[in-house]
Amino acid sequence: MDKILKIMFSTIMFTLFYFIWTGTKDINNLLIMFALSLIVSIIFRNHLRSPIFSPKKIVYSLWYVIFLFIEIIKANIDVAFRVIKPVIRINPGIVTVKTKLKTAMGRMILANSITLTPGTLTVDIKEDTLYIHWIDVTNMDEKAATEKIVASFEKYLEVIFD
């Protein structure tokens, strides 16, 4: 039952994706695509993730995207000001932070989010330790760095993925 739900969900997503990408209005076109999506979904049935239906998770996901976009803009402006100043004020270094997230998917999204916000760049990840190149190291202590870089993302990702 769970598998059928997964296959249906991914089929609809693929068809929707095709519809947005091509903007076709021909119903036959969409039907062929629907059939193809169904075949692809059945082939990859063991690799599909189950869709999230809990409203709390959906709200948090949407809010996370908005939050991430605001963070990206803020951090970009910060780096831009660093670049145009006559003397570049940087204080770089690689620091470690610990994450509380358990799932691989959650950790991947966290690492990507850290990399997306300029000023921090994930260099490596081992178990629950992330090695982050930080353009302006204000605190070398692991706990303080965790608080400063990771905590704001983790708040959302904990709800979405755990």
């Binding site: 690689i94 260099v123 090695y131």
Partner: protein
Amino acid sequence: MEWYRIVGSIVTLIGSIFLFLGALGVFRMPDLYNRMQAGTKATTLGTILTLLGIGICHYEWLGQILIIIMFIALTNPISSHALARAAHFRGIPLTKGSVADKLKEKEATEVEVD
């Protein structure tokens, strides 16, 4: 001129300013890791805004543009992470003013254990 064309043009202009600053950052930063900070990520926002501006100008393309933005937002951090990781394992040093390199310390202790 319609209003959405003006809005789209302004958004595209802001995007290209960020792209320019990213290029300037690549030129001015001292070492590979800091260059990557400016070069791969100031350009993420630059690309997103440039595309979004085009999407606002030609609203019939907005769907495609949003999909492209999604792909850029998903793949850009992975490529910059891969580059940084490869550079670190290759042994490219951090710039002189760097305050800490915890990853190098970790690797050093691991070698001693072996």
